[in-house]
């Protein structure tokens, strides 16, 4: 069994814990004792913050809509489609026709990069996230 330092993904308290893994599988979490935020405690949500990781419902392949339905596709096709469609719409209707919704669940680095993509690659400030909600 190995232990990996991480942060509970379920609320803004930011409790610190270790993810316990057996091979490729997450089997539990263990609060870190010394952390000033949670001092070795977790709430019920935190103790269960590993179950969904192994869920059979996880997305495992890119999907693309063909004749109305979502079907599996390759990363190359998915990425090319996204980049081309966004670029085309942006050059045809202007950057204001594009919107980007960032996430209060992903890392700081990913949030930074997402807004950088919206602003540097697609030239729009229309980037927001759902924390207003």
């Amino acid at each position: 069994m190995s232990r990996t330092r991480s942060i509970c993904p379920f609320c803004g308290c930011g409790c610190s814990f270790y993810i316990l893994t057996e091979g490729d599988r997450v089997i539990g979490v263990e609060p870190s004792a010394g952390n000033p935020v949670n001092k070795g405690m977790l709430c019920a949500k935190g103790w269960n913050a590993f179950d969904f990781v192994n869920s059979p419902d996880r997305l495992v392949k890119p999907l693309i809509r063909k004749q109305g339905t979502l079907v599996e596709t390759s990363w190359d096709e998915a990425i090319t489609t996204v980049a081309t469609r966004l670029s085309d719409i942006g050059s045809r209707s202007g950057p204001r026709s594009l919107g980007f919704l960032s996430s209060a669940k992903v890392t700081n680095e990913e949030n930074y990069l997402f807004m950088k993509m919206a602003r540097a690659a697609f030239k729009t400030n229309s980037v927001d996230h759902c924390a207003r909600l």
Binding site: V37, K45, L59, R65, F100, M115, A120
Partner: protein
């Protein structure tokens, strides 16, 4: 958080979780802390057991109430009136911090003028709180040496959310409960990285570190750092504006990362309409959410356990997280997907790890300047502002001066909820979070233990109302607003006052956001989740 930024120059929680132990008094308004932020709730309970005083203001009798010495049960949407009333008492009885007001603030005269008419008797009529209770709350909050004001979405999710927040700031400044340990105005953030998403510029008006997009010097700085010309210098669209623009056809494409706006937005059916009207929708997520099901392309992402990086909690503490397992199947880490899309669109992005991105953040974001991987690895995180690698981080803000210099009183008038109950729609619906489910439930619904504890959507209704309508506990009923109807089970409880029903927005079987009112706060654009008029009917 526009209200706090206008008052103090910074929109984040002013103080720290660790300081909860040293406070003498907590004034908790619009936060069901034990449900939404369980471990902060536990801190408050500990402090109360150690002798601190707790005052709770909430329309519902939330669990914290049993620890409170005073419970103010205000009518929904009357927070501004309640706090103006407290300030009225504090000024009349000269209980305010005269030195603090004189040396650290501006605008006191206007505040005094505005709150003058909010006498406890007037406020009793508006809020339903007895004048004597309001006076006592005012005296206790002002009289405490160190008082922490704590709020959450009960304050922000109103059409008057920005006014509510400004009024919290007024109250804390008036009494000098700011700039010291164990005091402050403390908004508790909902999702795990809301603070970080804002700090990193996931907002239409600012780059990372709240650097304004319409400031030429800032634009030049980012043009150079990113090696790009022609950055947009106009403030962009908020999520609410985007949904409107999608309906009118002005917004044609949307890229959604890790969010499910159909369930989290106030007017779910309108959002669905808006998204269906787009030419192109991309959703990047770990599950096929309701929003992803509408997409043209769905990109499978990694979850927190499958990647490395940093997150910023509600007290501005940046903490490190490492990768425990590989993502399932072909799923990829979000930052790698972003790099590939940007590069394919002609703007090359190459990073070898999250840490290389963090280094770039350090160089362009002053408040994160000293927050490096090495330091995070060694300690328990760093609280921004932390401008350089020798800086220890900042436990509480506004010590000797406010971020913007003087703190500004921004007095607000009480405005009634946008859609009050009437004869036909005679109940007020309010929404919130219950203990075991998290936001729209995409993660928690797939966590077996949590699904078992709170398996079905219910709504709370007062025993007297239930009796009148012939609805018994656990029976199905229909809640109808002007926008739609949902069916769910009743939980008959005096936790809610008469003529108020409460439910959550976690369950796709009964998406409550079909009902709620999309009228939003003109500044923060936060929609009114906390109150709309509905009618209730028994399903025979």
């Amino acid at each position: 958080m526009a209200g706090l930024a206008a008052a103090f120059g910074s929109g984040a929680m002013t103080n720290s979780i660790g300081e909860f132990e040293g406070a003498d008094l907590f004034f908790v308004i619009g936060s069901n802390t034990t449900a939404q932020h369980p471990l902060i709730g536990a801190r408050i309970i500990n402090a109360v057991e150690g002798g601190a005083t707790l005052i709770v203001a909430d329309p519902r009798e939330i669990p914290l109430v049993s620890y409170a010495s005073l419970f103010l049960r205000q009518n929904i949407g009357t927070d501004v009136a309640v706090m103006n009333g407290m300030m009225n008492v504090i000024i009349n009885e000269v209980l305010y911090d005269e030195t603090f007001v004189a040396t650290r603030t501006e605008g006191f005269e206007q505040l005094k003028e505005t709150v003058a008419k909010y006498t406890p008797q007037v406020v009793e009529k508006i809020s339903g709180i007895r004048a004597a209770d309001l006076e006592e709350a005012a005296r206790r909050y002002a009289g405490a040496d160190k008082a922490m004001l704590v709020y959450a979405m009960g304050i922000t999710q109103h059409a008057t959310g920005t006014d509510n927040v400004k009024t919290c700031a007024n109250l804390a400044m008036l009494t000098g409960h700011l700039g010291r340990a164990g005091t402050g105005v403390n908004p508790l953030r909902g999702q795990n990285n809301v603070q970080g998403a804002c700090d990193m510029g996931g907002l239409p008006n600012v780059y990372s570190g709240y650097q304004r997009v319409n400031d030429d010097a800032v634009k030049d700085k980012f043009s150079k750092a990113w090696g790009v010309q022609g950055l947009d210098d106009q403030v962009g669209l908020t999520i609410t504006d985007m949904m409107t623009a999608a309906r009118t056809g002005d917004l044609k494409a949307l890229y959604v990362m890790g969010e499910n706006p159909i369930l989290s937005d106030p007017d779910g059916s309108q959002v669905e309409l808006a998204l269906s009207n787009l030419e192109f929708l991309v959703v990047q997520d770990i599950f096929l959410s309701e929003t992803a099901a509408l997409a043209d392309v769905v990109l499978p992402a990694a979850c927190y356990a499958e990647k490395e990086g940093t997150y910023t909690n509600t007290e501005r503490r940046v903490q490190i997280s490492h990768c425990a397992v590989k993502p399932p199947g072909e799923a990829k880490v979000d930052w790698e997907i972003i790099c590939r899309v940007a590069t394919a669109a002609g703007y090359s992005m190459n990073y070898d790890s999250s840490w290389e991105i963090l280094k770039e953040i350090n160089t362009v974001t002053p408040s994160y300047g000293g927050i490096t991987k090495e330091r995070l690895e060694k300690g328990d995180g760093l609280q921004w502002p932390c401008p350089n690698s020798d800086h220890p981080g900042t436990a509480f803000l506004h010590k000797d001066r406010f971020t913007k210099g003087l703190g500004t009183f921004l007095p607000c008038e009480f405005k009634p909820v946008a859609e009050p109950p009437d004869e036909e729609y005679d109940f007020m619906l309010t929404t919130g979070r219950i203990y075991c489910q998290f936001h729209t439930g995409t993660m928690t619904r797939r966590t077996n233990m949590l699904e078992r504890e709170a398996p079905r959507p219910t709504f709370e209704i007062n025993p007297e109302d239930a009796k009148r309508l012939g609805i018994r506990d656990a029976e199905m009923a229909e809640i109808q607003s002007r926008r739609g109807a949902i069916r769910l089970r009743a939980e008959v409880t005096s936790r809610v006052p008469k003529k108020v029903v409460f439910t959550t927005f976690h369950f796709h079987e009964a998406p409550v956001n079909i009902l709620t009112n999309p009228v939003h706060d003109p500044v923060s654009k936060i929609p009114e989740f906390k109150g709309c008029a509905v009618k209730i009917r028994r399903i025979a």
